[in-house]
Symmetry: C2
Subunit: 273 residues, 2 copies
């Protein structure tokens, strides 16, 4: 059996009881190392699970699926994923390969950033399409995510923005901060104005910055997009939400996290359509 086990978002103890039992009885346990980071390292996980973990980076999973799946028809193999196995990154490739080889699989779910962002008080069913904000280079400055955020907001929907990061686990500098993401959005707004467009999203649009969701030192800050460009949220991982139309209860919750409550309400009731 192949087990795809979600580890949740915080530390070693965010695995489910069921997941932990599976890990402890598997012959081989792989740890997916490329989509996200927990607040603890591989060693802390190994100690808590009482198991040696084999790091599997993107290349391993794509090119060595067959070695991961070796003998999984006669013994148990676990593939551990930070968050949920079908969260921001899916593991369809590995599942499809297992099915081709006649290997049964089971998913042990957990929280992922895709549902845990609900902790800021914005309701998950009011989110539209999720976007990824990628690092710009001197020659490559895509703006397509901006148009998706705009479309969501026109429809009254919030947008979860996943922030670009590097491929390897030990490249912390490649994780994008909320400040950097907000700067890129402000750049796009300036560009659009130069082109004569009055953008749907402005420096006063209410956003939410989230850092290390699910960890003990999680930080949430709400305020204008401009405020997001300077707010101090600490280390990775960061995500950002651009709000759409807010329900009064959503607004009450966001106020708990406001950078500057004095002008919060005015900006929150900006016209969105």
């Amino acid at each position: 059996m192949l087990y795809l086990v979600g580890l949740g978002l915080g530390d070693a103890k965010d695995i489910t009881v069921k997941g932990l039992e599976v890990v402890r009885r598997c012959r081989r346990v792989y740890l997916e190392a490329y989509t996200s980071v927990l607040t603890v390292g591989k060693e802390a996980l190994e100690e808590f699970y009482g198991k040696e973990l084999i790091l599997a980076d993107r290349e391993t999973v794509e090119q060595e699926a067959d070695s991961i799946l070796k003998d999984a028809d006669v013994c148990d193999v676990a593939f551990l994923v930070v968050g949920d196995p079908f969260g921001a990154t899916t593991h369809s490739d590995l599942v499809l390969r297992a099915v081709q080889l006649g290997i049964p699989y089971q998913v042990i779910h957990n929280a992922s950033i895709m549902n845990a962002v609900g902790c800021c008080g914005l309701q998950l069913y009011n989110f539209g399409e999720t976007v990824s904000i990628v690092f710009w280079t001197d020659t490559w400055k895509p703006e397509s995510f901006f148009d998706k955020i705009k479309r969501n907001r026109q429809n009254g929907m919030h947008t979860l923005c996943l922030l670009g990061k590097g491929r390897k686990i030990y490249e912390p500098s490649r994780y994008m901060s909320v400040n950097q993401a907000a700067e890129q959005l402000l750049d796009i707004i300036r560009n659009r104005r130069l082109q004569g467009e009055e953008p749907e999203i402005t420096e006063n649009t209410i956003c939410v910055g989230l850092a290390r969701v699910g960890a003990p030192d999680q930080k949430i800050a709400s305020g204008t997009l401009y405020q997001m460009s300077t707010v101090e949220l600490g280390g990775p991982l960061h995500s950002m939400i651009v709000t759409g139309t807010m329900h009064p209860l959503e607004l009450e919750m966001l106020k708990l996290f406001s950078v500057d409550s004095s002008n919060f309400e005015n900006n929150a009731f900006q016209k969105t359509t």
Copy 2:
């Protein structure tokens, strides 16, 4: 401290290790009884946790927040929620009341239907707004969810449909099945045609029916909307997805669950815009 603890979707062992430790040390432990059901009852949870649980239905949470929060400034109280505390139903009211009373709170996340539906292979970031399909009565037949699904599909997005259910945990007959949801959508399509509209969504649109996601007897079936009106998925909870534009990898995954693979591909490549 008030702890909001997600229980996940399957059985008693889907709680996280961290969540279990919290439950075992809390003075009072409430179980929210109105938004969802696990595959096991209160007694099984009590036995596994080694704690007596106090059932809190919707009325209790809304009207008796203060009794739930009593002394939570000096002792630990847990509020257990099937899925994630900020999943399909949020618990903002309880959090806001705690903050007003100066009681600190902590959220222990878990999987919810909002992210676990990713197990069918459709990518979560390609979902638009989530809709609730409610039971029609003779005199009340709202169609607004249909227009939201239509808008998502026009934008290429998938739609997660949460299916209407009763308020009390012991009213299994009030849970809507995928068959019933599909029938209501087919009714709306017939109405729209009578009004001269050629609907974006037809009996041939590819949908996914999901039952008991995260439980050992979970069932997933993909096929046309028409096929969803007769597919046999067993007991609650059910959810349904109406697909938008599919990526080839998403399609490969859905084929694993197809009711009738022979005509699957043709329908999947229907024009969506």
